[in-house]
Symmetry: C2
Subunit: 308 residues, 2 copies
Amino acid sequence: MKHIIGHKNPDTDTICSAIAYQNFLIKQNTEAQAFALGELNKETQFILDEFGVQAPKQISELPQGAEIILLDHNEEKQSIDNINDLDIVEIIDHHKIKLETDKPISIYIKPLGSSCSIIAEKYFNEVVEISQVIASILIAGIISDTLFFRSPTTTAIDKKLVEKLNEIAKISDLEKFSLEMFNAKSDLGDISTEKLIKLDYKIFNFDGDDYGIGVMETTNKNFALDKKDEILEKLKEIKKTDNLMGVFFVVIDILEEKSWTLCSGNEENELFTKLFKAEEQEGTLFVDKLVSRKKQIVPTFEKHFKQQ
Amino acid sequence: MKHIIGHKNPDTDTICSAIAYQNFLIKQNTEAQAFALGELNKETQFILDEFGVQAPKQISELPQGAEIILLDHNEEKQSIDNINDLDIVEIIDHHKIKLETDKPISIYIKPLGSSCSIIAEKYFNEVVEISQVIASILIAGIISDTLFFRSPTTTAIDKKLVEKLNEIAKISDLEKFSLEMFNAKSDLGDISTEKLIKLDYKIFNFDGDDYGIGVMETTNKNFALDKKDEILEKLKEIKKTDNLMGVFFVVIDILEEKSWTLCSGNEENELFTKLFKAEEQEGTLFVDKLVSRKKQIVPTFEKHFKQQ
């Protein structure tokens, strides 16, 4: 049995691509099951409810020796807790790679806007039939990860795939559907401050030191900005508890394509301001058009730390 | 322009897959050219002569910023000298991975018997027409890297691909063709001892130390074994000059599926004997069925050094 695993703090793309790849493998007579490394966010839950798809089982470990397929990630730190006891047999991803294996395995990475784009391409290339439900959740994954083509990670292929998938999915108004998705994502109810910061949060190693970067993609930025002081307090706490060199929380308005960042300390504030030419705005660091952790924020940090 | 680059000490699979992928990309209107990082071996030269294919241009560096595609390797040490000045845009390989990139790139790795198998699959999957010449050199690459299906790296897919490719290539007697290939490879003329050792030679890092492992796949083992004393002398010299912890030279009879190994010192002799249950045979270390550096020799060393 192949266990298909998305990354920790699962987002819509990681969950939808894992479910779709489970379907793809089963259609090719390979036993497979998708799993989630954490609670689903409200956007993902909205999509699964909308199309009547069951959520993947939530796990944090698997039995020793289990065969796993890593979807939408390739770094150990972002994966299942006991990854070193497991047998990685395949990786499908659209991120940069940092990986060492002790035997040849299947790796398929393409610089597309989402992992759902890669799975959709596999269906089309290998001429495997796509059901209306699978086409729908693949579209949802692509829309979510590319912010409906607003993110600089978007490629022409992503757009074409959504067009082709929607011949099957027949979603009548994609713009409206994407707004419903983003609003679902923005409706965070009485979430705790720490959970808010870690909703879409990854650890990155820059030049030997670990940094935490959380992003909140939202249509309701004030949900976070109104709690600015609590968030700043919590960022300092996380920095200390998790032994990090800095923690950044980036609130991204996905419709206006602007962001407001909060940092865990003065040095981080100065660094972020310098690197992104940020403007102080009511205690936050405002940057126009800064919307992608993968394509903009992380590469800028990496370039900076490499030059030092 | 995409520069397609095989590994240093090019073998038949690296050269044939690079030429075939050049053809594949050009057919899809992408400007591409295959290059060789070193002189071709006699097997490869025999194949290119046989099918009237021009050898790729030999280079050791490319202009800064050039876009490169790594074929049949993914580790910096096995690649072009100034790799850090170049822009890796794609990797196609069938080896284990040890890689870190600073942006997402296309990576396609499959645990098949050869890189030519992966290129052949790409032609078939993406329904790109294969000419008789390209089908022929793809078959040659698969036969060479799998020792005509004798190597434990061989998969069922490799065998099927050769069958399918030969519907186009129409090589009348594959067994005879493979013998001609292996004999060409074994005919080394007045090669120097150092060149003999480094014909198919790679550096591996085990637990922080570098080791050199050369293999000679041959139908005429005595060509090397008759020069045993000169080779032993040269192994010691290479160990010293190249600052290595040990150098191994494995003479593999590809028809009988046996090997005889020479080592750069007593400690290396003892280690090799212990790890592979080798038998002393006229000053060489004989092991039955030990024929694959990738699938047998390197993993055994790695397991040993990991346990320490």
